[in-house]
Every structure is written in structure tokens, then in C-alpha cells.
């Protein structure tokens, strides 16, 4: 069994696991850190972005590089459509992948890169919410980028990265970066997904069984259990033990694995989501009361549902209930609608509401009461008439490199009464804001990441007791930003062997299959005659015709051959007893000759035969006289035990 690590970002994982000749891809996350090196895409011309100064590395005068890099403050940005770092394609040919298992909608953004134009022919499994909401995220991304076409594609800069200032000089493998896929690729890719339910047993070629178990992280999020009759591998991706809107995490299913692969732990290891939510509510209240606007860059799904619910309540309490909330995304309407029809995937509190029948999320009611207004874009019909300040705006993209958020920063960035609140943990907010600096708008950092922190993860490992624990290497060392917080690691667990892995590695996992399973059918089973060879241990020979279909082995009765069942002899032949039996049968001229060791030869001169005896073998040598041989055979058998 082998594990390949194709993603550099443990929060956007992508692995290949090979086991029993099945090649599985575990998640296909797309690392988007590369975005921060690009200039934002604005669909109305922006003075600031257009007039940014060109930058050239010192002692370089390559004319092809001219205009590709722009400078703002101490940062350098690439002026080109943004590029993404897809999963590594050098270790494995994607056409060989049999199955892709997707854990949650945040871990599938690279799917079109894997399945389209690569010869991929496998199956893709995901839960219904993962498919439906994942579709929204993929579509939003494509719309954001396609609505701001750029005519020049910069490429020369990749040859000069080493001469660029931080952080561009540390960009990860920029030569492998790719342009985003198009909508046709998205549709083709998603059409390959087969929807599965939690705890649905999925058979893979009869060789393996995979089961998605609720992971509590977001709508439809799952951990995967991959098993045979004898082995169990658990792949743990985005998981949460906190109580929010999704179905709670299913611990039980993950227990006692031979191998536990753990990725996608929290990106905010030192802050706690509840207190961050508290800070957020206070900041929003203060800003609105001060007449300022709040800008919350976000994904169109996920924690944002909890924010609508929580903020609307808090705004009521702070006396700013009149300020509207705007939710702007090309998929805002779909996201609001889908979240309210996925009752079976929600926490029991939310689920119980549909029995009333009421919508599980209050945002349907907020929309009805005009507290929450949603638009596809800021230039959509009705937005300009509905727009009123002060207000709270939720919009994408959290990287601040495209989407309507770019326009809101232009609009509100120079007013210190306004506030931009970062709630999504994916991007460093300082880097996200860098191309817009200097800004007057207040900045609040309240990243809410509900996935497991290190304390929760270590506790979980203690509970689950995997034999082998496989984690990204970076989880075995304190975070780069907090090198002295040595408790922020996956520690050593006495019951589990720890194996770290990193990008580009192929590691062997210690799982040697020794046993399989066969099904013994009635007629064969009836012929089993157990012989107790030791207390509590019985043996019996089994013979049957083997029927193999879909990797399921059945032993059925041999229909036409009426042969006696084969038996085996065991134990040691006692020579005295043997000689006695010979003489009882009238063979009295036996001459015993010891050949040393425990080898003894018995010569039967009159019969022209000899019998060679050893501890574990007896050899009867005689002429073609079958009568004699049968007689000798019977005597040997009487002196041995058989099963």
C-alpha cells in the first residue's frame, strides 16, 4: 500500500492511495495561495490598479518582462489573469486513477484539472451537498475570473522569481501554475460525480468497501473509511467537533483503524471560533452604530450561514436592526435555496425544524423580511435602488483578487469609519490587502475555522487508537508563525506509529494483507469434520470448486467427482508399535537398521520391500505387489493420526 502526496497545502489536500490494485485519489483540493501574487481583477477600471508602477529586477533588462510585474509598497504583483497551483501530475498518470473520494466541497476545486483532458476514466464519489454546493463554488470561481478578461498573459516573470522580493520569491512551483478551467470543464467534471449518502457502503471492484461518515465540518462533509474484511484505513479530512449547522461528526466509524491518514486541521490554531464570532459581532455593532459599513469577504456558503443567523440576532440587540445585510455572489440565490433543502444533512436542531415544517436556516425568513438581500452582482438589476448605507456586505472572493469585493474596497477603502472583517481562514489578510494599500478602512481579523485544532486532534487520536498515524510533516512541528508553541503539533501517541509525509513523496504504508475471505456454501460446510489436534484447535480439510465473481470467493460443492476427501497424517510413527502391528499381520522378518539421526530403515527381506522412517515422514518402497503395499499402507495409517 502506497500513499502519494500531490498537494503542498494540507488544507487543500490531494492524495493518491493504492491498495489491492485499486488507485484512489483522496480529495482534490486546489491550493489558491498563488492568487495573492496577482493583481486584483476589477470589472470597472480602477485608477489605483491601472496606474501601479512597473517593476523590474535590478540588473535585468529583458524586454519581454516589461510590464508583467507591478509594484505597490514593498510588494510586487503579477499583472495577469490569476493562476492556480494544481495537484502534482508527475507522480501519477491521472488516467490510471480508478476512484476519487471527495470529503467536502472545499476539497474539490481541482476536480476539473484531474478529470478533464487527462484521460481519466474513473468514478468520483461525493455526498449530495458536496456536489450541489461544490458546483456553486466552482461556478462562482469561473464567473469571477471570466467576467474580467485580461488580454495579456504574463509568463516571463516565472524565470525571474528568484530576483523578486518577498513573498513572490517564495512562490511555490510557479512554472506548474495553470489558468483556471472553463464552465464546460466544470460541468463535464461534475457530471462524473456519483452521489452517496452517509454510511452508504460502496463496493469498489469487490476488492474494497468505502463508506463516507459524517465529519461535522460543513454541509455534507465526510471522512472516508476504506476497508476489506481484515483491514481498515480511515482518511480524515476537514472535521469538526463543534456544534454548528452540519450533522455532527461520526466518531464511532473511525475507531481502531490500521491506518489513519489525517489532514486539513485548523488554519487558526491559536484562536477559538466562538470568541472570534463574539469579536465579529462587536465589531459589526460598533461600526454600524458609528455610521460605517462592514465588508465581510467570504465564500458563498459555509460559515456564512451561521454568520447570517448570529449577526441578525446581534444587530437586533445592538439597535442596528435597520441596517440591511447584503449577500452578493453569482450563486447567492442558489446557495440560500440549497441550504434549506438539505435537511437530512443538518444538525438535529435544524433537522427538527423541517418537521414543523419550517425552513431549517433562518436566512429564508431574513430574506422574506428584507433583512437579508441577495444579488448576483452589484450591477444586477435592483441592487442600486436597494442599496443603503450603513450596511453589512458579504461577498467574494476572500483572496480579494476578484469578485465584487474588489469594488467594495475601492468604494469604502478610504473611509476610516468603515471596516473590513476577515472571517475566512484561507488567506493571510495582510497579503490579501497588500495591492490596495494604503487604506483608511479599519481592518479586523476574526478568522473562523471550525475544523479540528491540535488539542482536539490529539484527543481524537487517543480515542480512535489507530495502529499507524499518517500526517503531513508540518503537523509534527510547531507552526512557522509560532515556533515556540510546541503544543501545536500532532504528538507521539503510544498506541500509534507516526509517519509524516510531505509534498511530492510516495510513502509505503505498513499494511501487509495476509488474509482474505471466502464463503463456504452449505454442501461443502456439511462435509467439514473437525478433528481436535490440540485443546481448542481443530483442523479439517476443505475441498470445493472455487467460484470467483466480482472478487467474491465462494467454495461450492465439486459436482461430478466422487472422490474421497483428502486427509493428512500428522504426528510421529512409533517404531515399536509399528513392528508389533507388522508381526500381527504376519510379517515377522523385519530387520531394523538405524542410519543415524532419527532415520531408521526397516527391511522386509521376504517381501522385497523397505520402509524408511523419519520424524516427519515415512517412505514405503516395494515392488508392484499391490496387495503387499496396501497391507503396509494400512499398518502405517494405523500408527499415525490424521485430520
Amino acid at each position: 500500500m502506497k500513499l502519494y502526496c500531490l498537494s503542498n497545502d494540507p488544507n487543500k489536500p490531494c492524495h493518491i492511495l493504492t491498495f489491492r490494485e485499486v488507485t484512489m485519489m483522496l480529495d482534490c483540493g486546489l491550493s489558491m495561495q498563488s492568487l495573492l501574487n496577482f493583481l486584483p481583477l476589477s470589472f470597472v477600471p480602477s485608477n489605483k490598479l491601472m496606474n501601479m508602477a512597473n517593476w523590474m529586477p535590478c540588473d535585468t533588462s529583458d524586454p519581454d518582462l516589461e510590464g508583467e510585474l507591478k509594484e505597490n509598497g514593498d510588494r510586487v504583483f503579477v499583472d495577469s489573469p490569476p493562476e492556480f497551483c494544481p495537484p502534482l501530475d508527475k507522480l501519477i498518470d491521472f488516467s490510471q486513477v480508478d476512484v476519487i473520494l471527495i470529503s467536502n466541497y472545499l476539497c474539490m476545486m481541482a476536480l476539473p484539472f484531474i478529470t478533464e483532458g487527462t484521460g481519466f476514466k474513473g468514478r468520483v464519489y461525493a455526498t449530495e451537498p458536496t456536489l450541489q454546493i461544490g458546483r456553486l463554488l466552482l461556478e462562482e470561481l469561473v464567473i469571477y475570473i471570466e467576467q474580467c478578461p485580461k488580454c495579456n498573459f504574463a509568463s516571463q516573470w516565472k524565470n525571474f522569481v528568484h530576483k523578486c522580493p518577498y513573498p513572490l520569491n517564495e512562490a511555490f512551483k510557479p512554472k506548474s501554475w495553470k489558468q483556471i478551467y472553463n464552465m464546460n470543464n466544470v460541468n463535464a467534471s461534475l457530471s462524473r460525480i456519483q452521489m452517496v449518502g452517509y454510511n452508504e457502503k460502496i463496493d469498489l471492484y469487490g476488492a474494497l468497501q468505502v463508506i463516507p461518515a459524517s465529519s461535522g465540518y460543513c454541509l455534507g462533509s465526510a471522512n472516508w473509511i476504506i476497508s476489506t474484511e481484515h483491514e481498515k484505513i480511515v482518511y480524515l479530512s476537514g472535521s469538526s467537533t463543534l456544534t454548528t449547522h452540519p450533522r455532527p461528526m461520526d466518531h464511532h466509524a473511525l475507531k481502531n483503524a490500521d491506518i489513519l491518514i489525517m489532514s486539513d486541521l485548523t488554519q487558526t490554531p491559536i484562536s477559538n471560533p466562538d470568541s472570534m464570532l463574539g469579536v465579529l459581532c462587536v465589531v459589526v455593532g460598533l461600526t454600524l452604530r458609528g455610521g460605517g459599513n462592514v465588508l465581510i469577504p467570504c465564500y458563498p456558503t459555509g460559515v456564512v450561514y451561521d454568520l447570517f443567523e448570529c449577526l441578525s440576532g446581534k444587530m437586533q440587540e445592538s439597535g442596528v436592526a435597520n441596517c440591511p445585510m447584503f449577500f452578493i455572489s453569482p450563486v447567492a440565490d442558489m446557495s440560500l435555496a440549497y441550504s434549506n433543502i438539505l435537511a437530512e444533512w443538518l444538525s438535529s436542531v435544524k433537522q427538527n425544524k423541517v418537521y414543523a415544517p419550517e425552513e431549517p436556516f433562518p436566512h429564508a425568513l431574513l430574506v422574506k423580511n428584507n433583512k437579508l438581500k441577495h444579488f448576483k452582482h452589484i450591477y444586477s438589476e435592483g441592487f442600486s435602488t436597494d442599496f443603503q448605507e450603513p450596511c453589512v456586505v458579504f461577498c467574494g472572493h476572500p483572496s480579494l483578487r476578484f469578485g465584487d469585493v474588489v469594488q467594495f474596497i475601492e468604494l469604502w477603502g478610504n473611509n476610516p469609519r468603515n471596516c473590513i472583517v476577515f472571517t475566512e481562514p484561507d488567506y493571510d489578510y495582510i497579503e490579501a490587502l497588500a495591492p490596495y494599500q494604503p487604506l483608511q478602512i479599519k481592518v479586523a481579523h476574526c478568522a473562523i475555522d471550525t475544523s479540528l485544532n491540535f488539542t482536539q486532534a490529539n484527543k481524537l487520536i487517543r480515542d480512535l487508537k489507530p495502529k499507524t498515524l499518517v500526517v503531513p510533516e508540518c503537523y509534527t512541528q510547531p507552526p512557522v508563525a509560532n515556533p515556540n508553541l510546541t503544543e501545536l503539533v500532532i504528538g507521539n501517541h503510544p498506541d500509534s506509529t507516526l509517519i509524516p509525509y510531505k509534498w511530492g513523496e510516495v510513502i509505503n504504508l505498513p499494511l501487509k494483507r495476509k488474509q482474505g475471505q471466502v464463503l463456504i456454501e452449505t454442501n461443502v460446510a456439511q462435509k467439514i469434520v473437525p478433528v481436535e489436534v490440540k485443546p481448542g484447535i481443530s483442523l479439517s480439510t476443505v475441498t470445493g470448486s472455487l467460484n470467483v465473481k466480482d472478487n467474491i470467493h465462494k467454495i461450492q460443492e465439486l459436482s461430478d467427482i466422487k472422490s474421497k476427501p483428502v486427509k493428512y497424517e500428522w504426528g510421529t510413527l512409533n517404531i515399536t508399535e509399528f513392528l508389533q502391528k507388522l508381526s500381527q499381520e504376519g510379517i515377522t522378518d523385519a530387520k531394523v537398521e538405524s542410519l543415524g539421526g532419527n532415520v531408521v530403515v526397516i527391511h522386509l527381506q521376504a517381501e522385497d520391500a523397505l520402509i524408511q522412517l523419519e520424524d516427519n515422514s515415512t517412505h514405503v518402497v516395494c515392488n508392484a505387489d499391490e496387495k503387499l503395499r496396501t497391507k503396509l499402507r494400512n499398518i502405517v495409517m494405523q500408527c499415525l493420526k490424521e485430520f
Partner: protein
């Protein structure tokens, strides 16, 4: 041989009051717990005293409800709260949401309108629903350590499911009511090749092969249109949820297209609520509705308005949907009494009616109907029956059998004569045993044993290697031979040497070598070749290999020695396990030498 036992407490050779008792692997499972709508007395509920005279918790491991129709869940609060059952009850989420509403509705009609006694209360319905565990499609649910259940989409009403149930190596599929053709708001039933030991299928429409859906819809719309054109009133008795939504979608689009003005009413009180359930469980509807629900919710009707009792006597044409569907009580019956004497009016019965109901009577051509208070109603209105009930027809049932490949079939929830017809068809076409027990009668199905046993991989691999090394022959069977090592908690099949090692004993190999002399001048190799050819001819099924002067037949060795003169010594050697073959070959060569 292990057995599966099924006893219908209801739905055995009848329609209505589905309730089956399933016993396998020492577990007792109740499949559906319905009430009979045609009776007002004890006969409406299944006879639970068959199970026990008191509470039945100790005898039933779990209850599974297929869908929210009262003939499948109507007796549930009676069983759990009045007879006494505290174990788990499984149903899908939509069923869990909708069933209590229908139960409450029925309770009101029975107790408050008809004054029936010995009926469950509202609180009992609530307490009963607390025992319900909701399941999602395809989710594998372990009821306890032995019982596993899994729901499949049945397409009969919102949330209707078929259930696969496994205990040990035995398995059963219970269909409840299902529909194999997609309709306006639901998809078609689907199941995988799960090869159960027994498929228990409904057979409401066992003898019908329904004409195309489109024709029936056109026919329905034409009749409604004609009736309102001449100023008549159309009554359509329906259940609150299910067919009603489908017919509403149908009329709504037709009214829109034809620009009709006659009012359509939906007389339920829970119209909006009912439609809300459809909105929230839209993932259970068909592909088309799911795709478009964000833009346009199919269940927001423009032309269909809420009904008020006062409208009964309004002049002019109208179309009214009213509950209940079988015309046995409530508003639909009240409207019927008013409108029946007018020949301009029409009643369309869109579903099956159980015996004893007014619906059943008029469908059988009754021209007058007598009620409890000696009121006699003349039926002059035209009576139309349109099979909109989403049940599988004969073709659909056969399809389902084909899909899931059961070893045995049982037909329930159908009339005896119709069941017999279909039974014969199934036996002919699939060569399957087909059962149809009556209520209280037990069918016993024996199932093959399949004991799962661990097997050592080297044993399997050695066999596979040997098999793939042979020349391909479709007739050749693969044989597996090994030794089963049985310990207290485990069984493992392995190679004999591995087994002896595991068991800590020494195998003792007994070998025989017989020497015979034959006269055959020439080199010994030539003699060996002769023997080789002879054995191949005599034992065509054995694998015979000739190499370096030695012949091996399976594991029997034959060797020839001797100079070029006449006399040759032939050694035949085998282990005791090959005694039969060894002595046979010895005899063969002996015989050859004498020829």
C-alpha cells in the same frame, strides 16, 4: 437449512392494512403497521395478539415503515402506545415529517366526526413519533449487532422507500408501495443487484399493464375540461399528499395553457403546509423539479385556491380536490353527497379504493349509496376511475425482480385472484419460487448457508497462479483445497503446511514408491515417452508433464531406468494423499507392460 419466516398480519392476499412479521436469524422485524380504511371496528388494526397478548416490545426487534400512507402506518400509534412497543421504528425523513400529520387528520375524522372509541390520542401520536429513527437513502443502518437495513427510492409518494434487510447472511427486500415509471413530481423506484433471499413485493396492480402515462393524463384533462365546459362540477377525492400534488401540477399547467377560468380548489387546510413539505424535501422529487426549484417552485400554484365549505353550493363549474381519497369520511364524502344526484357533475377517483368504502361501491357501479343514518344518495354524476396511484404494474414488478435478482418472491398487498395470475407469470418467466400467504398464514423460505471464513492469501494466490498457468478452458472448474483451522473465535482456511504450523503440530508425509519391471527394448527415454503417451491417452483430464525423462501426473512421479536391453525398471512414486491416482497409474503401467 436456515429459514426465513413471513407472516402477514395484514396485506396477505388483500389490499389495505399492510403489516408483515419477518423472522430471520432469530430476529423479528415488523414491516409496516397499517390500518384498514374500510372498517370501523377492531378489524381496522392488525391483530397484534398473534404476536403476544400483552406488550410486544420483547418480541419485536424493530419496526420499519415504508411510507406515510395510512394503510402502511395508520396503526403505528396504536401498536406502540396502546399495545405497547418501545423498540426502534425506522422510516425516511419525509415519512417522519408527514406521517404524524396524516395520523392526526385521521384521528380527528374517526374520533371527532365518527365518534369512534378505543382510538389513539394526539399525545400518543407524538410519543410514538419519538421512537422513530429517520434514515436517509442508501445509508447502511445497524439496528443492533446483527440487523442491517438500507432504504432505496420507491417513487410511490414523497419519502416512500423500499427496504433491504440483512441478518447474518440472509437478506430480504420489502418494497412497500412503489412505482417503476417516473411521474410529474417523483422519480422511478430504483434498486441495485442486491440478490436478496426473498423479495416481498406489493401487487396492487398485478394484472394491469397500464397504458402510457401521457394518454391517461390527456384523458383526465379532456374529461375535466368537458365537464366544466358544460357547467358541471368535478370532485377529485385525494389524499393530502402524494397524487394530489401531481394532479395539481397537471391541472395548473393545463389551465394556464388553455386559459380556463373555472376555479380549482384544494380543500385541505394543509395545502400550504403540504406543499411546504414538498419544497423542503425537494431532493426526494424528480430530476426536473429539483433542477428548477430555485427559479420556480413547482408547488407554488397560481390557479389553485383554498376551498371553503360554503363553496359546495356555489353555482357554476368548479374543480375540487378533497380528502380523503377513498371517500370513506370527511369533506370529500360530504361534497359527494351534495353533488352526486346531478348528472352534469363528475367524480374522478384517481386511486385505489379498499372494499367497504363508498369509493369502492360507486366504482363497482352502485347507483345508490346508503349511509349509517339511512340517508340514501342517488348517484347520477358520472363516475370515472383513473389509475393515478403510483403503484408498479405487472411489467414494473417484473422489472424490479430483474433488477434485484431475488432467490424467492412473495406477493402481498394485492387481491388473491390477481396475485395468482402474477405468481404464475413469475414462476414461468424467472423460474422462482413465489409465495403469497394469507393473513395469519406463515410462509417458510429456506436459504443456503454461506459461512464467511478467513483465507490465507498465499493459498488463494497459489490457486490463482496454478489456474492462470493452465490453458484456458471454459469448462475447467477451479478447485480450492485447504485446511480449515478452527479456534475458539476464528476460522481460517490455509495451506496444509501453514495449518500444521499454526496448530503447532508436525505433519507426517507418507510416500510410496513401487517399482515394476517391463520388457521394452531400446533406450529408457523411448520407454518413458511411450508411457507418457499412454497415460495421456488414458487420463485425458489430468495434467501430465514430461520433463528430463520424468513424467509427473499431478503430483505422482514416474521414472524409467535401465540399459538399452529389454528389461526396464519403472518407479512410480506418490504421497498418501494421491493414493487413488498413484495406484491407478501403477495399474495402468503394469497393464501396459503386459500388452
Amino acid at each position: 437449512m436456515p429459514e426465513i419466516k413471513i407472516t402477514p398480519l395484514g396485506a396477505g392476499q388483500e389490499v389495505g392494512r399492510s403489516c408483515l412479521l419477518l423472522t430471520m436469524g432469530g430476529k423479528n422485524i415488523m414491516l409496516d403497521c397499517g390500518m384498514h380504511m374500510g372498517y370501523n371496528d377492531d378489524r381496522r388494526f392488525p391483530d397484534f395478539s398473534y404476536i403476544s397478548d400483552g406488550p410486544i416490545s420483547a418480541f419485536i426487534d424493530c419496526v420499519i415503515i415504508s411510507h406515510f400512507h395510512l394503510d402502511h402506518c395508520g396503526a403505528l400509534p396504536y401498536m406502540s402506545e396502546m399495545v405497547g412497543y418501545n423498540g426502534p421504528i425506522y422510516m425516511t425523513h419525509p415519512t417522519k415529517a408527514i406521517a404524524p400529520i396524516l395520523l392526526e387528520d385521521m384521528r380527528k375524522v374517526s374520533v371527532e366526526k365518527k365518534g369512534e372509541m378505543n382510538f389513539f390520542t394526539s399525545q400518543m401520536i407524538k410519543d410514538c413519533m419519538k421512537k422513530v429513527i429517520a434514515v436517509t437513502l442508501h445509508q447502511s443502518v445497524m439496528v443492533d449487532n446483527d440487523i442491517e437495513i438500507k432504504a432505496y427510492y420507491a417513487g410511490h409518494v414523497l419519502g416512500a422507500a423500499m427496504f433491504w434487510i440483512r441478518v447474518g447472511s440472509q437478506s430480504v427486500v420489502y418494497t412497500g408501495d412503489y412505482n417503476m415509471t417516473p411521474d410529474r413530481h417523483l422519480g422511478a423506484a430504483w434498486i441495485d443487484k442486491c440478490r436478496p433471499d426473498l423479495l416481498i413485493s406489493e401487487s396492487t396492480y398485478a394484472t394491469t399493464i397500464r397504458d402510457s402515462k401521457r394518454c391517461r393524463e390527456k384523458d383526465f384533462l379532456k374529461k375535466v375540461h368537458e365537464c366544466v365546459d358544460k357547467g358541471g362540477k368535478v370532485l377529485i377525492p385525494v389524499f393530502a399528499l402524494g397524487r394530489a400534488q401531481e394532479l395539481c401540477i397537471l391541472l395548473e399547467t393545463y389551465w394556464e395553457r388553455m386559459n380556463l377560468k373555472a376555479p380549482i380548489y384544494f380543500a385541505l387546510g394543509l395545502t400550504e403546509k403540504a406543499n411546504n413539505y414538498y419544497k423542503m424535501f425537494i431532493t426526494w422529487t424528480n430530476q426536473k423539479i429539483r433542477k428548477t426549484f430555485v427559479q420556480r417552485n413547482m408547488f407554488d400554484f397560481k390557479h389553485i385556491k383554498a376551498f371553503d365549505r360554503q363553496y359546495i353550493d356555489n353555482p357554476g363549474p368548479m374543480v375540487v380536490f378533497a380528502t380523503p381519497g377513498m371517500l370513506h369520511a370527511g369533506l370529500s364524502l360530504q361534497i359527494f353527497k351534495k353533488w352526486a344526484p346531478n348528472e352534469n357533475n363528475m367524480i374522478i377517483m384517481p386511486g385505489f379504493c379498499v372494499q367497504g368504502t363508498v369509493g369502492h361501491k360507486i366504482l363497482n357501479g352502485a347507483k345508490t349509496v346508503e349511509f349509517e343514518n339511512r340517508q340514501i344518495v342517488e348517484v347520477k354524476m358520472s363516475v370515472e376511475y383513473m389509475s393515478f396511484s403510483a403503484h408498479a404494474d405487472a411489467k414494473g414488478i417484473m422489472q424490479l425482480i430483474q433488477h434485484c435478482e431475488p432467490r424467492n418472491v412473495m406477493l402481498v398487498h394485492g387481491e388473491a385472484a390477481k396475485i395468482d395470475f402474477l405468481k404464475e407469470k413469475i414462476q414461468q418467466e424467472f423460474n422462482l419460487q413465489c409465495f403469497s400467504p394469507a393473513n395469519g398464514e406463515t410462509s417458510v423460505i429456506t436459504t443456503p448457508v454461506k459461512i464467511p471464513v478467513d483465507v490465507s492469501l498465499p493459498l488463494l494466490k497459489a490457486e490463482a497462479k496454478k489456474f492462470s498457468g493452465l490453458t484456458p478452458d471454459p469448462k475447467r472448474r477451479r478447485t480450492l483445497h485447504g485446511v480449515l483451522l478452527m479456534k475458539e473465535n476464528s476460522m481460517c482456511l490455509m495451506d496444509v503446511d501453514e495449518a500444521c504450523k499454526e496448530a503447532g503440530i508436525n505433519r507426517h508425509v507418507v510416500r510410496f514408491t513401487s517399482t515394476l519391471n517391463i520388457n521394452d527394448p531400446g533406450p529408457s527415454l523411448t520407454t518413458a515417452h511411450k508411457i507418457h503417451g499412454y497415460i495421456r491417452e488414458k487420463l485425458p483430464l489430468c495434467s501430465v508433464i514430461f520433463s528430463e525423462g520424468e513424467i509427473s501426473i499431478e503430483s505422482v512421479l514416474v521414472k524409467v531406468e535401465g540399459d538399452d536391453d529389454d528389461q526396464k525398471s519403472v518407479y512410480v512414486s506418490w504421497t498418501n494423499q494421491d493414493e487413488e491416482l498413484g495406484s491407478q497409474i501403477l495399474n495402468l503401467i503394469n497393464h501396459m507392460g503386459k500388452v
